[in-house]
Amino acid sequence: MSPETILKLSGVTKRFGGVQALTEVDVEIHRGDILGIIGPNGSGKTTLVNCITGFVTPDAGQVIFAGRDITGWPPHKIADLGLTRTFQVMRPYYSLPAYKNLIVPLFSRRARRTGGWRGGGRMGDRNTVAVDILEEIGFERDSYVPYKAASSLPTGYLKRLELARCLALRPDLILCDEVFSGLSMSEMASMLPLMEKLRQEGVTLIMVEHRLRELFSLANRVMVLNFGAKVCEGGSEEVMANEEVKKAYFGSEEVFEYV
């Protein structure tokens, strides 16, 4: 039995004025996969995330999620199908306590249908569900972390709050835009098992990352972007060994000589 394809991109292209941000990107993700997307700065990783989640409409190509062509759909409809994302720049609702940040996703139609993460069907009190989600994701309830103002939380918790916002929708696929960046080693150490746990629960993950070591330990497939085009795709060793990838990251021989 071949694994079920959950997301398929074919020929996704995006141009911003004279800049070719994405050129004919094809990729296929199976349910339960963790796909890593890496590439140097400005290689089009975030644009790809924006194209998939509807924040940017691709100029050409198709995005097919769970058998449906979602190209050009507005973001809230895509999220309603169960495809959601975190943002690279975290902007929580700072004035509110952490758990109140989750009221917004729990208010959505999808959360009402699914009951939120582990809500089990009918939505009960949103505050209770919100605190449960946060506790599950590592906000210590005993020391009242879920009740603290979002403005007072350190980066590690804010990254997790971003993830919790996605989980509140009980998604099928989460696009994580650099959830590891800016974390300390200990924060990272607690984040890795969390991602692994999500995968085991059947959530498909696409992770855009700069922290390669951590990404390679998690992802079962990696795609490399450079100047908006796919350089290669495969297992982590395969990608590491690829000459094109080395060139993209470290420059070509000629450049070294020139320097």
Binding site: H76, A79, T84, R85, R91, V104, S108, R110, C166
Partner: protein
């Protein structure tokens, strides 16, 4: 002098009753309950007593009603600006639409005021929301400019097409049975809407409104259509404005072009600046100060705009937080000088 200043500083301490999170209080004695209830009772009691205190001055009783109508507009402006993130200069549109609908319903269909007022609140709110719907993706100053165009446009259209009585307006609208009823209905409406909205902004729906203001991208990614939420916010705000307009047309027994006047767009903003934005109660206090001043300065004609501008500049420069924010800080914190 500087040496004296450097040896001491102002220390601020929260009063014991206010615990870490806003809005959660440990209430254990009558004194503490009084501490919480007193400011609210002061506003409610003050508003309710005002018509009685002014019973010897019928002109100023009319001013009480006008204050209430401006308060409704100011509350709706504050709600839309600080909790939904849309700066609307459409106050004159809401008043005008509400006034014309109420006047038409009353003169054409003979409906009594207790039917026309609620009806024009709902219909007017719906009409204004439909007009503003295409502008909802706009943000900040762009939405403000577009919303300012509508009242100007509406007045010119009525004038040019000579519909709804043209420049004469609609005459012969029923008044209220007594001035006491008119004042107390308005005061009750202001209090009801003030405390209702203060509750709403902390409910789940209110948090979604605030989410749209703080970070609409995250709201979209949460599977919620931002435009629908904004439309709902505009509906609530414009319905409150139309309610004020409908009351105004019954008050003056007339609906006319001057109800699209820019005063209705500008004074609520001034009142919000003076009273303190984001508090909802602040704008009411702002109106209680600014509208009577405006009446006192009526003899000076257009010069009152200059006085207005001075007051506004003064507040923006010296107390930009507004009276309500300043007052509640003073009320909830001890301040004392300590030696360094």
């Amino acid at each position: 002098m500087e040496a004296v200043m450097a040896t001491r500083r102002k220390e601020r301490l929260d009063r014991g009753i206010k615990v870490r999170t806003d809005g959660i209080y440990a209430v254990s004695s009558w004194r503490e309950i009084a501490y919480l209830v007193l400011p609210r009772l002061l506003l409610i009691g003050g508003l309710l007593l005002m018509p009685l205190l002014l019973s010897q001055a019928p002109y100023w009783q009319r001013v009480v009603s006008i204050v209430c109508i401006y308060s409704l507009l100011a509350i709706s402006f504050d709600f839309l600006a600080h909790f939904v993130g849309l700066v609307s200069l459409g106050g004159a549109l809401y008043i005008g639409v509400g006034a014309y609908i109420a006047a038409l319903l009353n003169t054409h269909f003979g409906l009594p005021s207790w039917v026309t007022v609620p009806l024009s609140t709902i219909l007017g709110g719906g009409f204004c929301t439909l007009l503003l719907w295409p502008c909802l993706p706009l943000r900040g100053v762009y939405f403000a400019i577009v919303s300012l165009m509508f009242p100007l446009l509406a007045a010119r259209i009525i004038e040019a097409l000579d519909i709804f009585g043209g420049t004469d307006g609609i005459l012969g609208v029923d008044g209220f049975s007594s001035k006491w009823m008119e004042m107390y209905v308005l005061i009750a409406l202001v209090l009801l809407i003030l405390f209702g909205l203060r509750r709403l902004v902390n409910e789940d729906l209110g948090l979604v409104f605030r989410g749209v203001k703080d970070n609409d991208q995250a709201v979209k990614a949460s599977g919620i259509d931002v435009i629908t939420i904004k439309a709902l916010g505009v509906f609530i705000a414009s319905a409150i404005g139309c309610l004020g307009g409908a009351m105004l047309s019954h008050l003056y027994m007339w609906a006319g072009l001057s109800q699209f006047a820019l005063d209705f767009s500008i004074i609520p903003i001034a009142a919000t600046v003076v009273g303190g934005g984001g508090t909802l109660a602040g704008p009411v206090i702002g109106c209680l100060i600014l509208v009577p001043i405006s009446e006192l300065l009526r003899d000076f004609g257009t010069l009152r705009i200059a006085v207005y501008a001075l007051i506004l500049c003064g507040f923006i420069v010296f107390k930009s937080e507004g009276l309500m924010v300043y007052g509640s800080r003073k009320y909830q914190q001890f301040e004392r000088w300590v030696q360094i």
